[in-house]
Symmetry: C2
Subunit: 340 residues, 2 copies
């Protein structure tokens, strides 16, 4: 007679807080995220931060499908929150991760996700130091949701905020727009491409560190995720009380993304990105910033895409490739739900 | 012709990251959580912590029903994470909140929850400084899930951890066991009581502050939430490599909880609590700690319930009210799923 095999699926008892929860934490989360904080076995992590201002940011991740070309919900949850922290100009220090799992979710799938998170955290040098696991009944969740929260420290003298864009500032991005959105769309709709688009999911904190070293007077940073570049620029224009003038021809968009958008009626400026940032800096520093970004592996296709203007209505305008002018409005409706 | 009325339900577009998301954030979250960090409009909050060691803790909340006697998911999400931070002996400073909403969830219900969170945060003096909102399709979530993360600072000289219980230490609790579990059970199963049990949901940080001032040599603190007192004591015994000897008669349990448990076959030692803590301290300090706890409004029914022993198997034993001895094992299975 042999013992019954371990359950291959998440069951409600994995969320009970009892012995089965403890085993899941030890065998899956602690095993892969392994670090001194988790080994302590407390419901919290204690750390001594470097002196200075700290940043906290949080993101829930509900992307579907859980795996897509170029990434998965795990690396996305790590990189996405690292990026939110980095957009304050901060060096990310620690992450927490809270899982909401659906009864019936395969344990092997959970482990794949956790391994991906662990690899992303290790690559970024930002450990996952505390967490939580809840389980909901079948049909009351959707496989796996992950909420990550990040803590970082802002270097002295750095003052980056969405309300600091000023008249005449240059607007830069670190590369092509829409890759994540189209990659997820392709995975979801099982579209076939000759060169399949890949998500750009990446942790941007080392790029940001290089940028603030080269141009400490950087005014704004923001990652154009949900809502895409268009929405991010409108947010920044609104927050800073300025307008913006873009040059469409300067915005890099990969051929596969452009093709998919034309075919399916999407606008790449509204598609989500997961390894991209918008930077706004004084015009005089723009070429230095551009060169710094291009010298970094995550900024090779960086470009100056526009200028901050004095529009009282805080509109984002774009000179089109055909020489006309187009209003780049906020996203209304939802092009692609559950993109991150 | 009039404009169409604002949607009364959460729609997918509330999670798009576009204009409708921005309106939800402004009109609901910022309006009620209102503070200087949120008003900045960034995806993060910046703060300068007091010097010293910091604590981070996170919890996902998936409780059903969302409203129950004595509380709701909103105050629970605030108090629960404040308590996790406080269990390090820390003073909680800031919270983040990430919402996963199901398409079709009533906006009025969301606002009720947000108002409850805001009230709990204000009462505790711990602002919600950053957040996130995602929306999933109808049938892929369950109304409202909330993940909160807390940051706190540990006072100098305090060294509380689950691995510090030592031979001869006293084990205390701050009041009756099982109230939250039975209150949620009653709401879920629509049970009727003459005196309906109320959840004990409460923020324990001011009680903890009084306790560490009176007894700075406190060894362990933990909140017996999921899995109840039994599981929490087993965790601590395991983590510290000790055994425990409890006295059943010393453990306060309200009559309604005892009655419901007898009727329904539950064991109150395994029911979740949301305003309770276990404290372990040197025996010599136990009476001082007890008096301090009893002098606080959240510790009036505090009791010394047992002693740390030298059991090599790390078992938790209990002298029953009938004079016998009973093993208090880890929770196996799940008495009540989605209790927090």
């Amino acid at each position: 007679m042999s013992l019954s095999p371990a359950p291959a699926c998440i069951e409600l008892t994995h969320g009970s807080g009892g012995r089965v929860t403890a085993e899941l934490i030890t065998n899956v989360f602690h095993r892969h995220f392994d670090n001194a904080w988790l080994r302590q076995g407390n419901d919290y992590a204690i750390f001594t931060p470097p002196p200075g201002r700290l940043v906290i940011s949080t993101d829930a991740h509900v992307i579907t499908p859980l795996w897509f070309p170029g990434g998965d919900i795990g690396c996305l949850a790590v990189n996405g929150t690292i990026n939110d922290v980095a957009m304050a100009g901060a060096q990310p220090l620690y992450l927490s991760a809270a899982f909401i799992l659906e009864e019936g979710f395969l344990l092997t799938d959970l482990e794949r996700i956790v391994i991906s998170m662990a690899a992303a955290a290790r690559a970024a040098g930002v450990p996952i130091v505390t967490g939580d696991t809840k389980v909901v009944e079948r049909g009351h969740g959707d496989g796996c949701f992950i909420t990550t929260t990040g803590i970082g420290v802002v270097p002295k003298g750095i003052n980056i905020s969405g309300d600091r864009a000023a008249l005449g500032d240059a607007i830069l991005i670190n590369g092509s727009m829409g890759d994540h959105g189209v990659a997820v769309l392709a995975a979801r709709e099982q579209l076939h491409f000759i060169t399949p688009p890949q998500s750009d999911s990446a942790a941007l904190h080392s790029l940001v560190a290089a940028m603030i070293t080269a141009v400490p007077e950087l005014h704004c940073l923001r990652d154009p995720t949900r809502g895409g570049l268009a929405t991010t620029l409108n947010e920044l224009a609104h927050q800073s009380g300025v307008g913006m003038q873009l040059t469409e021809a300067a915005i890099p968009i990969h051929a596969a993304v452009r093709g998919a958008c034309e075919l399916l009626g999407f606008d790449p400026l509204y598609l989500a990105n997961e390894g991209k940032l918008v930077a706004i800096c004084p015009a005089a520093a723009a070429e230095t910033l551009l060169a710094t970004m291009r010298a970094h592996s995550l900024g090779r296709e960086a470009a100056i895409i526009g200028t901050v203007t004095g529009d009282a209505q805080h509109l984002v305008q774009m000179k089109t490739v055909f020489g006309g002018s187009r209003l780049v409005a906020w996203l209304t409706g939802d092009q692609l739900p559950r993109i991150c």
